[in-house]
């Protein structure tokens, strides 16, 4: 498998009026193509910061973030798709126009891309809602639209910043299955930031556990589930609670 993303000795400090905070220090890890990696850690340890670095919204203080072997910069942003906690759909755009938002920004409103967006909507059960407005959709559907909007520009790497935390529990279980299925069938690489251990265990191939600030890698857990299991089915697998407890023990020692 090829290395898609690599963090090499990344350090990041935040400057504020009162003091200087070291958010990340000596952070190194890699993510391989078509892998689903979750990042968990004590709250406020800088998980979102890692995603911001990959999306080149901020620059590392030292060290480097490599995407396909190249340092990330604004130009590489089309290779990365970012999904936030809230769906951030624009109420005044129809579902289809929301999906095409990234295309219109990247001047890609041309036929192959538009057809791709259409087929994504069709494949994932939103075709009949193309001309609906976001306010007419359920929370789960909105999150699916947000994911398809992220996929429309055909990014190599998806950054998921707690995208399931804003929906109710039942919807969350359903959306997790949906999102996992869509990411697997589109053969995308994904990095999920979460504070929910069961979410990390049910979705990922590997889980990175961070130390408290300044964040470093505390340990990495590879999860060995049967490939055919959906996230929901994983929850009833005997290995699930074993992994859950191992990760919980690691995190507990950090708090």
């Amino acid at each position: 498998m090829n290395k898609l993303l690599e963090f090499k000795n990344v350090k990041l400090t935040y400057q504020t009026k009162k003091n200087e905070t070291i958010a990340l220090e000596n952070l190194s890890f890699s993510v391989f193509e078509e892998e689903f990696v979750s990042i968990v850690g004590p709250s406020g340890c800088g998980k979102t910061t890692i995603l911001s670095l990959i999306a080149s919204l901020i620059k590392p203080t030292s060290g480097s973030v490599l995407l396909c072997g190249q340092p990330v910069k604004n130009k590489t942003s089309s290779m990365v798709g970012y999904m936030f906690q809230r769906d951030n759909l624009f109420d005044w755009r129809t579902v289809f126009k929301n999906v095409c938002l990234g295309l219109s920004i990247q001047h890609k409103l041309k036929s192959p891309y538009i057809e791709k967006s259409r087929s994504l909507l069709e494949k994932y059960g939103l075709k009949d809602f193309e001309n609906y407005y976001p306010t007419q959709l359920s929370g789960g559907m909105r999150q699916r639209v947000a994911l398809i909007r992220t996929l429309a520009t055909d990014p190599k790497l998806l950054l998921l910043d707690e995208p399931f935390s804003a929906v109710d529990f039942q919807t969350r279980l359903l959306v997790q299955d949906d999102v996992s299925y869509i990411i697997k069938s589109e053969r995308k690489t994904a990095i999920l930031v979460t504070h929910d251990i069961s979410e990390a265990v049910s979705l990922s191939d590997r889980v990175l556990i961070l130390t408290k600030r300044p964040a470093k890698i505390k340990c990495i857990k590879s999860l060995d589930f049967n490939k055919s299991l959906t996230p929901f089915q994983r929850r009833s697998d005997p290995k699930f609670s074993k992994y859950f407890n191992e990760i919980w023990e690691e995190l507990k020692s950090e708090e």
Partner: protein
């Protein structure tokens, strides 16, 4: 309404009730107007009030009809409407543009913020004498007064609306590779349209205030001139009739904006 026949009796009852409610409310509204006019007229007829000071609906109607016949109604209405519309259009356009520029250039915004606040709290009528000296006693001074009153509030309200946009939405556009102009056109401006409409509504009132005040200061024609003149010569029929015409024009303008709002909301499915 295709499947009307499938509505349950319960639902039909509900629909009847809401229709009745709406009818009662509009009936109530018209009754209030008729009651006030009726009471006013009756009191004047029975000499409970002195129509010389309070005028009366019939005298107002007579005055307006007389104005319509000699053409002065159109002259004065048009003069004031024209000044108001120009002041309204310029302050909305220029004020919004100013807000966009201030939004795009944060340091400039920070520099000008205190000045805006001070200008906003200054009673613009105080600048009247200056305007007259600088641009002359005429239409220009009146329109300028209207603009002064509207533009600051437009800029401040629009700026506030821009700044209040959720940061995460801007971040989303940035992760999609948007530059700041794309952020402006794809997010900031469309997001601000409902606020823009409220600014329009506020400014309908403000623009009339500005032009009428301007006409009180300097003018040879216009409703403000008529009202002011009527007051000076103690002809309260003229004053009241001027106010009535003003009321009608201002509500027409307000309803045009409300119609625009309705149309936009429908288009954006709000």
């Amino acid at each position: 309404m295709k499947n009307k026949k499938f509505f349950s009796a319960e639902h039909k009852k509900y629909l009847r009730k809401t229709r009745l409610n709406r009818l009662l409310i509009s009936l109530g509204r018209w009754s209030v107007l008729l009651f006030i006019i009726g009471l006013w007229e009756l009191s004047a007829q029975l000499a409970l009030i002195d129509p010389y000071i309070t005028s009366s609906p019939s005298r107002v109607a007579k005055t307006i009809i007389a104005w319509a016949k000699d053409g002065s109604l159109w002259l004065h209405s048009w003069t004031t409407l024209y000044e108001t519309l120009i002041a309204f259009a310029i302050s909305i356009g220029l004020g919004s543009l100013l807000a966009i520029l201030l939004y795009l250039f944060t340091p400039v915004r920070k520099i000008f913020e205190p000045y805006l606040v001070v200008l906003n709290s200054l009673p613009k009528i105080a600048l009247g004498p200056l305007l007259i000296v600088w641009v002359g006693a005429g239409t220009k001074a009146i329109v300028l007064m209207g603009i002064l009153i509207c533009i600051i509030i437009t800029t401040m309200s629009m700026l506030q609306s821009f700044v209040a946009i959720p940061q995460e939405k801007i971040l989303l556009l940035k992760t999609l590779g948007a530059n700041r102009f794309q952020v402006l056109f794809k997010l900031i401006l469309p997001h601000a349209i409902p606020d823009f409409i409220s600014v329009l509504k506020i400014n309908v009132g403000m623009a009339w205030v500005g032009t009428i005040m301007g006409e009180y200061l300097v003018s040879q024609a216009g409703l403000g001139y008529l009202i002011n003149y009527g007051g000076l010569v103690f002809n309260l029929d003229t004053v009241m009739s001027g106010i009535v015409v003003l009321c009608i024009l201002a509500s027409l303008m307000y309803f045009s904006v409300a119609t625009l709002e309705h149309y936009i909301h429908k288009k954006r499915n709000l």
